[in-house]
Symmetry: C2
Subunit: 441 residues, 2 copies
């Protein structure tokens, strides 16, 4: 016999641990068991995608509470994460004034400052006294302003005149005026500033929030640094995945459907495969040489992969430096000279080791026939050439892509490796035809 | 004849643009020309490494102003970025109480929460009224507290009892007590929590600051979210560079000396080269087969690079998912099954294209002799095997490395490619010996 029991409550930290492994239905069921006092915080700590799934799985009567818990910028994210047919009904759960704010924000691209900003910020008038400003801020936070770290001084037409931190207000003598303590050279972004650019400004300036202004310097909202942490993570993930030779997934591994993931991976893999087919064509040209000197074929994988490895090092380095603005487009010539020197040095090191390996094996096992010394020289010279070519093309490709307006991260390491494979074969067999002429060839 | 002119002042934004291209001496000279009113902000926006270089290049008399401008946690970073012989003298520029704070912080590892934290935070007593708490905060900010976004309620032994945001203080009725509005379930980290873990907590919880407590819950300081943006950038850079097959540079491209960079790149390149030498050994075993069927050698680069590309996709995907905790160690079996299926599908797609390519070339140019169909089947079957092996080993290597305590990012894409190259050759020649037996072999 079974008795019906009230289900046990679930604590947020337990649910957080189990979360990635749960199906959508299990998430909804478990979430209902979180005690009400802590459910809010748990809900707010979820990603927009997860919040959207939870809300849409709830009965229409329950949705309102959770939609209204969200700040306007977070409400926008949830609506953008929901399927188009559900968006209208989610919007209708909001109160009139928030709905208007959310609708205004929905017009911005997700990746722009406008899509990240919160339209609710603390404002003061420049002519207020410090004491008046502090009580006015208290009043605003009692209503709906979220961040009171900075207060923005606006004129009656919403033009941004200055910024004052709460710290400055607290430090100043109460009878001073706001415009006596505020900073006038405010760092701002515009509504269409790309989020990657916004995150650079945050990491350079160490600010807690940046105001978003339109072309006439009217203040539209603020982007806060806590939203930027997520942006920086996402941009880095996108870059890493592109460097790894696939389209950016844009969602956690287990949340991407099998077919969607296959598509994102097969696309690039196919491009690389088609490129790599050129190696079969190149090899076709050297079929006679291989037939005459089979020993040459033994080192083909070694040579082309050394070019690929040095190329992916160089390209990864430059992609990241460009993304962080440590290196700019106009530095290409400085980078080219430096990478050429690095390629020469790295190629020389690998070349020496390669020659030593062949000569030692020859001395011990007589593996490579009577022309082993010339074979060794061919391999050594090819390594220098291939590594130099890999390093140089790997470092220049990101500049070229940036120059024509593409994302340098698309110059993914495997793409460079493919490029270098084909050229590596040409370099190797050219070196062989020069060094081994009259001996093996 | 030349006249001596006062040098023109330099504006911070001009200097910021030119900065990466300037030598150390040029930076110091230009910095001196920044008008004093804006020099502070410019100085504070520099990295610790750059601040250290500027300060050390100044006359001893000028150093004090700049050292004292830094908050204790930033002072620590500058001292850690300076050569060991200069540290004592920089410490001596600080006032007595800051020096003690900095010395205490210097004891923590740079990558731990203790190394990131600021020992100056806003504190209140739980039994204070809201009004008393607000005036007490005003007093503290007038002295030296930096962040007043949250105030921490401590007992007389510095134990953390709760946290209250400034927003909550402003919203609450002035006569209430702090312990009536504060949150007691505070998210904390300990002094030795790794900075990567700290950044996850920030991005999950969306907080502006997290308190650092010792094992007895005594409060030691706070980590603020603006410091975390830099951490997230740095950790991502480290991962991207490791994925690209090199040691993390830990500094911008142009600021790493040529020899230091060569060392960081040559090390991994050499490891990969030594691993790749196994391909020459493997090829040695198949020398007879190649001599008999030179046509087989034509597809060697195509086959091994397809394995390498699919392996680097899979490894990059899993490295990033592990870094973001989207995938945990215990999910390895779920990942293995999924990647095996993905590898089968991707391998089948590439295999079909490969077979089609060979048959079409054969029909058009008779490139591959009388056994072209069997050669095509060999290539197709090998592609399925190699891509499956690449996908599976690429996805499992990060788990294995994490399991034995290494950083999964060390399972860099080129490392997987090298592993897959050797096994790819074995798979290819094994398929050939089965399918072509009696025909070419």
């Amino acid at each position: 016999m079974t008795t019906v029991l009230d289900p046990e409550p679930i604590f947020p930290h337990e649910l957080r641990d189990a979360w990635p492994a749960l199906s959508r239905d299990e998430r909804v069921e478990s979430f209902k068991l979180v005690p009400h006092a802590t459910a809010d915080d748990f809900f707010l700590s979820l990603s927009a995608q997860e919040q959207s799934e939870l809300i849409l799985a709830m009965a229409p009567g329950e949705r309102r509470t959770w939609m209204r818990l969200l700040a306007p910028d977070d409400g926008v994210d949830v609506i953008q994460a929901s399927p188009p047919e559900a968006r209208e009904s989610l919007l209708s759960e909001l109160d009139e004034s928030t709905r208007r704010e959310v609708q205004a924000l929905l017009a911005y691209a997700e990746d722009d400052a406008g899509g990240l900003m919160n339209p609710r910020f603390a404002r003061v008038r420049p002519e207020m006294s410090i004491d008046e400003a502090i009580s006015y801020l208290r009043k605003q936070t009692r209503e709906k302003v979220e961040t009171v770290y900075y207060a923005y001084a606006l004129d009656s037409h919403q033009h941004l005149l200055g910024v004052v931190s709460l710290r400055q207000l607290f430090q100043a003598s109460p009878s001073k005026r706001v415009d006596e303590v505020m900073r006038r050279d405010v760092v701002t972004v515009s509504e269409d500033t790309d989020q990657e650019e916004v995150s650079h400004i945050f990491s350079e300036q160490g600010l807690m929030a940046i105001p978003v202004v339109d072309s006439e310097r009217r203040m539209k909202g603020i982007v806060t640094v806590d939203d930027i942490v997520q942006v920086v993570q996402d941009e880095a993930t996108e870059d890493i995945q592109k460097v790894g030779g696939m389209e950016a997934l844009d969602a956690p591994y287990f949340e991407v459907g099998f077919l969607a993931m296959l598509r994102k991976r097969a696309g690039w893999l196919m491009v690389l495969f088609l490129g790599e087919m050129l190696t079969a064509t190149a090899m076709g040209y050297f079929e006679q040489e291989i037939a005459r000197a089979v020993v040459l074929s033994l080192f083909i994988p070694l040579i082309i992969s050394s070019g690929g490895n040095s190329g992916s090092q160089a390209t990864t380095l430059i992609i990241r430096s460009l993304a962080l603005s440590e290196v700019r487009l106009r530095d290409w010539w400085r980078v080219a000279r430096r990478e050429l020197a690095a390629g020469l040095a790295l190629g020389a090191i690998l070349g020496c080791v390669g020659i030593a390996r062949i000569l030692i094996w020859q001395a011990l096992f007589h593996s490579y026939g009577e022309h082993a010394v010339k074979v060794a020289l061919t391999v050594g010279a090819s390594l220098v050439g291939v590594v130099m070519f890999g390093t140089l093309s790997g470092s220049m490709l990101p500049f070229a892509l940036r120059r024509v307006g593409f994302d340098p991260a698309s110059a993914s390491a495997p793409f460079v490796a493919t490029l270098v494979d084909v050229s590596g074969l040409v370099i190797y067999f050219t070196a062989a035809s020069i060094i081994l002429r009259g001996a093996l060839l």
